[in-house]
Amino acid sequence: MKLSKLQIAAGLVLAIVGLAAALRATTYFVSKLEYKAPERAAAPPATPRDQGVRDEHEAQAKKDAAKPYAEAEYRAFPAVGSRVAVWVVAQLHLLFAAFVLAVPIFALIIEFIGYRTGDKRYDHLAYEFTKLLSVSFSLTATFGAFLTFLLIALYPKFTNYLMSVFSPTFLPYVLLFFLEAFFLYTYYYGWGKFSPRVHLLLGLGLNLVGTAIMLIANAWLTFMMSPRGVSEAGAVISVMDAVTNFTWMPINVHRVIANVAFGGSVAGAYAAVKFLQAKTDEERAHYDWMGYIGNFVAISAFLPLPFAGYWLAKEIYAFSQTLGLTMMGGAFSWLFIIQAVLIGNLFLAANYYLWLGMGRVEGAREFQRWIKYLLVVVALCFMVWATPRSIIATVSEVRAMGGGAHPALGFLGVMSAKNTAVNILILTTFMSFLLYRRTGKTAVVPWKKTGNTAQLAIFGFAAATVIGLGILGYFVEARVRIGLSVPQVGSVLFAMVAITAIDVPLYRGATMSHEVRWGRIPPISQYVLIFIAVTFTWLMGLMGYVRSGLRQHWHVYGVIRDTSVDAFTPTLGFATKVVSVTVLIFFGLIGFVFWLSSLHDQKDWADKQKEKGA
């Protein structure tokens, strides 16, 4: 039986009236059951009970009036505790903020390419990325407000201290936030309404203001890790020093790069979902291209990220060896094994996606034969990087090994091996990019042989430098070994820049032997894009934990001690559970953002009804 709309409405009204009647009746009967002295009904005199109640009220009123003000140091959050509540909300705020800061960066670049080349596809793509921003911006602000209220409510004393240090930064922060809203909504709603140059300027303003907001917020959080500009007792000496503390600039650089990598991956995931929902080849081609660009942005930013990470770690050590050793050799050292698994997966997935993408071009066979060798190198590097120095072993296993470290594999667990592995991984992924870029193209410049030879020589030089210095690291003192990572990183960066500098003119005006057939890629590639986005998000959550958790029992390291019940550092197992819950909530919410963005392209309800009727 199908109910009419009138029946449903009548049912709802009846239910509300019934509920109200039930409540009124309950109140009436309960008040009848209250004990009353027999004489109270006529003229209630002061009975001993009434007098007692009055006395109690008076005593309570006196007690309340005399109660001294005492500032609470901590308050408890129900069920999960204060730390987990703040942790999850802060991480969600950071994830949305990262996305909102990152998307305008590459949307602006893509729009600029479209403006310079006159190719409208780029303009449409940039707009499609920007469509994801407005709801995400609201969610970022909502989580930011939620986090602030939680901090004030749960950690009032510590929050008060931070406010006393950074109060001069609050007004600029709020003003910048207004400006961010102005630029974001004008950039989004003004798409196609202004001249391209004005619109590009709006995008530039959006990026500059967004970055400035991030710089201020980064000052607050880095101060907690590496305080500066305050006395030993915590009194403010210089706000500027507190802002420009030891880890501020490394975090700024690391965050900008990581945000772009993360934002690219989430935008790639959006394209993947749209690809899988696509009904036509045209849609598939568009979203395949969008996914490719998103992934390209993500991996391009991901490649230099470890170098920014090195700098940050170096500054942490320079600020406090204790903090550095807690990170790499103490309570958090095993966290970096989990990080190795994540980054290894990212490299594997990114390379796999590129290799699958070669199928878009007929003439890819020439390059595909190299994939098996690249896969072996990637897998070997992954295995080295994920090898711990000491392993969890039983007593008999430790005896059999002759110590906590395995006699052979233990050598792969030290930094010399790991630095070598990650640098070769980066070089290999860069090589995959290069091969993909060349697919279907034939260089026509007269110096193509020289160019190819020079590129190969640079690649070989970089690989030999990385491996040679990695081996040397086993035979030198610690202070020399630590310094070797700099030329290792330098040679890889040099190779990436120099090879690209040759490759661009080498393939300028190249003939296309085969056309790129966008959309002709196996559907599994789209699941790989989503896997990459989830892994990036999880990695952001994990690294957010280590950055914050490093302080251990300090709110502000060495200045304000954490004396709450949560002052201990939880197990890594617990931390990973919290990270996972946060990631799942984020993807639930970002799914909502995707859905809202896709509503824009859907037909109006009235049109749909008309079509149904027809």
Partner: protein, 174 residues
């Protein structure tokens, strides 16, 4: 009949499986909760032998010394100097300083003298975040003396940093 799994279910499964896998990896590594260091209560009449025991506890606990320093590690690489038999070397490291003054200087001004072959990096031990008090530092000195020497400090021992002079000989005053 071929069962068609809705796209939303596939995506949800992929996301849950990926996070589940990383959570599983997180359970596979050693699980350890790290608690804030306990305050050590040192009675006024504590003996030198007791100070050695207290010093050893501080060395591996509140002082965080064992995060960097090993004791009796036979082969390198060494992060920071191994402290096996350190008392035998401490009295001759710097001209004019006995073992107690040398240890006290190492903890109060760690960058003033760096053992050849190593980088500076030791934190100032009487300042936060480690922040040992002078009694605790004396206990650590007693423990370090026990590594290759005979402990002789007491809570009344004076050195340059707790009101004494930089004396060239060990103080074994009661």
């Amino acid at each position: 009949m071929k069962l068609r799994v809705p796209l939303l279910a596939k995506l949800g499964l992929l996301i849950v499986a990926t996070t589940g896998f990383y959570t599983y990896v997180g359970q596979m590594v050693p699980q350890k909760e790290v608690y804030p260091p306990q305050e050590t209560v040192i009675k006024a009449d504590v003996t030198t032998a007791d100070m050695v025991k207290i010093g050893q506890e501080i060395f591996t606990g509140k002082g965080l010394c064992s995060t960097c320093h090993t004791i009796g590690k036979k082969t390198g690489p060494y992060r920071y100097p191994d402290l096996e038999g350190v008392d035998a070397r401490a009295g001759t490291r710097e001209p004019g300083l006995n073992d107690v003054e040398y240890f006290a200087k190492s903890m109060h001004e760690p960058d003033a003298f760096i053992v050849p072959g190593f980088n500076p990096g030791m934190p100032t031990i009487n300042k936060p975040p480690i922040g040992l008090n002078e009694q605790e530092i004396l206990c650590v000195i007693a423990y370090l003396q026990s590594l290759g020497g005979t402990p002789n400090v007491t809570l009344a021992t004076k050195h340059k940093y707790n009101g004494g002079d930089a004396a060239p000989v060990a103080q074994a005053t009661p």
